[in-house]
């Protein structure tokens, strides 16, 4: 960037910095919501499984995502778990 000499420059820089800070907050909030919703709904279940598998069974190949979900659903068939009223 070239050096700016006009008087408006500091103000513009301030504004940019402020805009950047707001954008950062929005981005972080968005990321937080995304993190929460995807974890809550179960999107991350496979990642968690793979991480676990890598750590505990380094030799063996983990299930594919498709296989993992099939197995998870089959398990749920065996044990559905109650929902409350």
């Amino acid at each position: 960037m070239t050096e700016q000499t006009d008087a408006a420059a500091p103000a513009a820089r301030e504004l940019r910095r402020f805009g950047g800070a707001v954008w950062e907050i929005v981005r972080r909030t968005g990321r937080g919501i995304r993190w929460y919703v995807t974890n809550l709904m179960g999107d991350r279940a496979y990642d968690a499984y793979v991480a676990h598998h890598r750590a505990h069974h380094p030799g063996a190949e983990p299930l594919t995502e498709r296989q993992f979900w099939r197995q998870k659903m089959d398990d749920a068939d065996r044990n559905p778990g109650a929902r409350c009223c």
């Binding site: 929460y36 709904m41 598998h53 099939r70 559905p80 929902r83 009223c85």
Partner: protein
């Protein structure tokens, strides 16, 4: 557990010096665990050291000011609700009274429970850590698990009970929901969760058998099975009542089936694991189904196909329940579950926002005359005990014991988090109940009674309803026929007279509030059907899941004699057991739908009694567990004994009323013999012989169920009291907890991490990857 032996030799074992984890004055217990629980010195602390916790717990001026302010605001709100008698009261005071009381209960009472009853120890590994398998046992982020747990406990229950209880005025229900949850409901959920976690996630039935012996345990299991059936039946009855003669509702709720199947197929074959994505697609389709329903209901063919009477809908739900329960989970139940979780959290946030934004004025008096007479049309019986069984979910719900044992405890990351998840999760359900109550009392009282009085009273017509409601002697302006027809037209229904069951009233209240916040009068019908859909979605999921769980219990019990039944891949066994369970709740549902006296008003008390009896059973099991923990716990047993005694007195009294009351509107048997005498003498003043036979049959079923429930509960409570007294006399008892294992991970305990917790988290983050404790060798690992 033997006497505590503090001051063991833990000091100096840690290299960092800062992590003398777990020297905790709250936990004199576990001398046996002390050596075992010595943490790996190579790791950062696995628990916040006691000294640091004490430092953080110290009272500072800002904290004192904050809590005084919360207490004052809460106190002011209670004064506005309970003492100030203006023309109206603003709904915002309900929100303040509830939230401030919850905060105080959570900050103070639940900490007392933690300090003297549960005494968690973060040096101990939880089942999720010990048995971590990446599937059933997964240490889950506390905030995510809170959401999971809440989604599993909260359904249609907290939405329905408060609506019915509004017939006594807003105050009795509000007090019970808020005070009940702090002293009873949240205590039960927290304790069951904690003790199940200490037992590897054992279910409440297994704990009952272990702690109370064979008779108590068997009674507890039979009671839970029967209660499950009655709960499914009554919830289904709520849906039937909401959808009867409503083509719009029937269409949009029916559309949830193809939508769920589409989502299931999408997740299985197209994009596995993209749960949020498919839930958003499902949500959009659901909205389209609601909007489309309005159009379909306006067409001739729509009327012809979807205008169904209640008996037809009841049979449709029975058939649906059977098919849904034998279909694979991925096709219908799992996607429905995703949708309901999504909707549940979304709608609750939305409704809370709308109430704060709109701040509706409440017209209903604090107490109506039905609180005194006990002869209201919505449900009969005096305030004590019937208010406390009508509002079960939201204040104290025994059913939660089934959720808090079993699934959630297998996912808890650290022991201290159980307070936030168990106690805090129930507080949130209570808040849902408060919002349902606000929605119900924000509509006109006359309309409320016209909707909730059984058609036996209103005749199902506008004129009948107006005449009946105006004869009740309500305060405020009299009900006019235009009010009923106008409201029905606004929500896109033919009639709103005698739409009992709570769901339509709640839907009207929600629509009333939402349209003021968003969209205006034009969107009234949309919001109404949105709310109906929302409730039907939960209930149909609960019907499906409840049938499956009940079927497993049955398969397991029959399997004790014929082992083949335990094999869940043996289809004939699955089908037979499903059919038996569906027949069980289906029969009650049909009786409720065809009940000449109304259905909801006669059956709903059974639902509440059943739910509270399960609570009494769960608390009785917990009481025995706590007494067995040792001498230092005896002094604090009242924390469990108080809600147990209350639940026991309430349910037993209510059962006695239902069995022995000579008032036909209250006592099942009194009504039974009254109709029987009329039938025998040929007196037709009570109805045609068919009607009388139906009443005789229904009251016999209701009366018999009441007797069975109360007997089972008394057996369990007596068994628990005997075990408890023995334990107190002996100074303790057999400890059935799993052996302690030292933890090798750390996580904060509450929603927000404290400074000290953040500092320890940083230490863990700084670990080089090879030192990461995931490679620890769990004993019970596959």
């Amino acid at each position: 557990m033997t006497a505590p032996s503090p001051g063991s030799n833990r000091a100096g074992q840690n290299s960092t010096g800062s992590n003398r984890a777990g020297q905790n004055p709250e936990q004199p217990a576990d001398p046996s665990g002390d050596d075992v629980l010595t943490q790996d010195p190579a790791l950062p602390p696995v628990a916040v050291p006691a000294a640091a916790r004490a430092r953080e717990a110290r009272w500072t001026w800002p904290k004192i000011v904050l809590w005084v302010a919360i207490a004052l605001l809460g106190g002011l709100a209670w004064v506005m609700l309970a003492l100030v008698r203006g023309e109206t009261v603003n709904a915002i005071w309900f929100v303040f009274a509830a939230v401030c009381t919850y905060l105080i209960g959570y900050r103070f009472y639940s900490k007392v429970i933690q300090r003297y009853i549960t005494r968690p120890d973060d040096r101990r590994a939880t089942p999720a850590e010990i048995k971590h398998d990446g599937k059933d046992y997964v240490p889950t982020d506390r905030r995510v698990l809170y959401g999971h747990h809440f989604a599993a406990i909260a359904g249609a229950g907290p939405l329905v009970g408060p609506v019915l209880a509004a017939q006594m005025g807003y105050l009795p229900g509000t007090i019970w929901i808020i005070v009940g949850v702090v002293l009873a409901g949240a205590v039960q959920d927290y304790l069951v969760l904690f003790f199940s976690m200490r037992r590897g996630g054992r279910t409440i039935g297994q704990m009952a058998r272990q702690e109370l012996g064979r008779i108590g345990g068997t009674a507890a299991i039979i009671a839970s099975l029967l209660i499950m059936l009655i709960i499914v039946a009554i919830l289904a009855l709520v849906v039937v009542n909401a959808l009867g003669e409503s083509p719009w509702g029937v269409f949009s709720v029916a559309m949830t089936i193809p939508i769920a199947i589409f989502m299931g197929v999408y997740l299985r074959y197209l994009r596995p694991g993209k749960v949020t994505e498919v839930s958003i697609i499902g949500f959009v389709l659901l909205m389209a189904a609601i909007i489309g329903g309005g159009w379909v209901a306006g067409t001739e063919w729509g009327q012809a196909i979807f205008h169904l009477d209640r008996t037809t809908i009841a049979w449709a739900i029975i058939i649906y329940g059977f098919i849904a329960a034998i279909l694979p989970v991925w096709l219908l139940l799992a996607p429905r579950d995703y949708l309901s979780t999504f909707m549940k959290i979304g709608v609750i946030v939305m409704l809370a926002g709308a109430i704060v934004l709109v701040r509706p004025e409440i017209q209903v008096p604090a107490f109506t005359e039905f609180a005194a007479t006990g002869l209201g049309p919505v449900f009969a019986g005096p305030l004590f005990p019937f208010l406390f069984v009508t509002i079960a979910c939201g204040a104290l719900s025994g059913f939660h014991a089934l959720i808090a044992s079993g699934t959630t405890p297998k996912l808890v990351e650290k022991e201290r988090q159980t307070r936030f998840i168990g106690y805090g999760g129930m507080l949130m359900e209570s808040f849902v109940a408060i919002m349902a109550l606000v929605a119900a009392v924000s509509i006109d009282q006359g309309i409320y009674f016209a909707m909730n009085a059984p058609s036996a009273a209103t005749g199902g017509t506008v004129e009948g309803a107006v005449a009946f409601v105006n004869s009740l002697g309500l305060t405020g302006a009299p009900l006019t026929p235009e009010m009923l027809t106008g409201t029905a037209a606004a929500v896109g229904e033919e009639s709103i007279v005698s739409r009992t069951g709570g769901a339509p009233t709640l839907a009207l209240g929600l629509a009333h509030i939402m349209q003021q916040a968003l969209g205006g009068q034009a969107l009234m019908a949309f919001w109404y059907h949105f709310a109906i859909m929302f409730e039907a979605l939960f209930i149909l999921t609960a019907v499906d899941a409840g049938t499956r769980v009940a079927r497993f219990m049955l398969q397991d019990s029959i399997g004790a004699i014929f082992p083949k039944f335990r094999d869940i891949t043996w289809r004939p066994g699955v089908w037979l057991c499903t059919a038996i369970m569906v027949a069980g709740w289906g029969a009650i549902l049909i009786l409720g739908v065809t009940d000449p006296l109304g259905g909801i008003n006669t059956f709903f008390p059974l639902f509440g009694i059943a739910n509270q009896l399960l609570a009494a059973i769960a608390l009785a099991v917990v009481l025995a567990i706590v007494a067995k923990r040792g001498k230092s716990y005896v002094k604090w047993l009242w924390i469990v004994a108080l809600p147990l005694a209350f639940a026991a007195v309430v349910t037993i009294t209510a059962s006695m009323y239902k069995i022995f009351s000579p008032v036909p509107a209250i006592g099942y048997w009194a009504n039974h013999f009254r109709y029987r005498a009329a039938l025998e003498s040929g007196d037709d003043s009570l109805g045609t012989p068919e009607v009388m036979e139906a009443v005789i049959r229904n009251t016999a079923v209701q009366g018999t169920l009441s007797i069975i429930f109360v007997t089972l509960a008394i057996i369990v409570i007596i068994a628990a009291v005997i075990v408890t007294i023995k334990a107190i006399v002996r100074g303790g008892g057999t400890d059935h907890e799993d052996a302690p294992v030292a933890s090798r991970r750390f996580a904060p305990s509450g929603f927000f991490a404290t400074k000290e917790e953040k500092r320890i988290e940083k230490e863990w983050e700084a670990l080089p990857p090879s030192e990461d404790p995931v490679d620890w060798k769990a004993p019970a690992h596959h």
